[in-house]
Amino acid sequence: MASTPLSSDSKHGGHSHIINPWVLFFNMLWLMFLLVITFIASEFDFGNVIINNVVAMLIATVKAVFVIWIFMGVMHASKLAKIWVVTGFGVLFLMFGILGDYATRQYEPVSGWETNVPNNGGSAFPREWPPQKKPEQVGENFRPRG
């Protein structure tokens, strides 16, 4: 049994489905194409920094899905493996709920002065911006605080 190629013994190998090499090859080409798209998209302005980021991440996600689905063979894997893949990314998504804290902090009805500084993420250290107005800082490691 062990001497015969596993492919001929479907019962033995269980889910050991052998993928057509051309599928793998075209998948690679497709991924490389998407990579070029990623690069082009990063140069292109869709009008909004959020949209730009979302587009970049969407393309990356599509790439990831193709790697998982075809290269990693989830396409032919058992249902259990599929469930685990989904669970893993699902809980990862849950973990990003941590960001909800930072997103909602600015709406807290506390009359603090840190909220007056936009885009500072609640950090008490004010950022000096724009930088071009600043004098040249040579050899200085840290910008003075406050």
Partner: protein, 230 residues
């Protein structure tokens, strides 16, 4: 509990690749695949936490991160991505050859993968060297060549480079571990060990791991190298 003896004990005891605790190869293969996937899920969570930290800080300090990221060489990142994608393909092919028990095919494909991994690490080395040369490694001497900061706040740029070195470093460590594991696997194939030749699963598991390394890079590359202008 009224249990009766099962009639299928070690039915396949003669199969060299079958471990004693399993009933048959199907159960064993399935177990290994599921086990590997659960392990990969832990890896997803492992890198996921870092991605979370990165997402948060980048959303806080978008402009500084954007300015700091300009130092990175996108060409090198692109080349590395191509290399990793190609190595993913060769690993997938090696799994295919393992299923077909084509020993030379597996060795050739894994060999190419090793070369790709080596190329990746060499490019990474040059990238790191450049950053060190520009005093962009976080710590006391950070930013002593301010022109390389492109006007980003040295504090926030330090956060960016901290994450850059942390995440790409951990990814690089995974590549290194992958190289060692693939090397071990190649040695097994080279010596015609029944552990790999009679059973494609070890090759498949290594392949899954390698794809995961690729997967991490697929996200790292656009996040680190290709930031849209805020």
């Amino acid at each position: 509990m009224a249990a009766i003896a099962s009639d299928h004990g070690h039915g396949h005891g003669h199969d060299e690749a079958l471990h004693h605790q399993f009933e048959d190869m199907e159960q064993q293969n399935d177990s290994y695949i599921v086990g590997m996937w659960t392990f990969l899920v832990t890896e997803v969570m492992f890198f996921g936490a870092l991605f979370l930290i990165y997402t948060l800080y980048r959303s806080m300090y978008q402009l500084d991160f954007y300015l700091a990221h300009k130092v990175l060489d996108t060409r090198m990142g692109m080349i590395n991505t191509f290399v990793l994608l190609f190595s993913s393909f060769t690993v997938a092919m090696s799994v295919r050859f393992a299923q077909l028990q084509n020993r030379m095919g597996v060795l050739a494909m894994l060999g190419i993968t090793q070369i790709c991994a080596g190329t990746f690490m060499v490019i990474k080395y040059f990238e790191y060297q450049e950053k060190f040369g520009h005093h962009l490694y976080p710590g006391p001497g950070f930013g002593s060549s301010p022109s390389y900061l492109n006007g980003a706040s040295p504090n926030f740029a330090q956060l960016y480079f901290g994450l850059y070195f942390g995440m790409t470093g951990l990814h690089g460590l995974h590549v290194l571990i992958g190289m060692i594991v693939i090397g071990y696997l190649m040695a097994k194939w080279w010596r015609n060990s029944p552990m790999v030749t009679k059973d494609y699963i070890p090759t498949e598991l290594v392949g899954l791991y390698w794809h995961f390394v690729d997967l991490v890079w697929i996200f790292l590359f656009p996040l680190m190298y290709l930031m849209p202008k805020p």
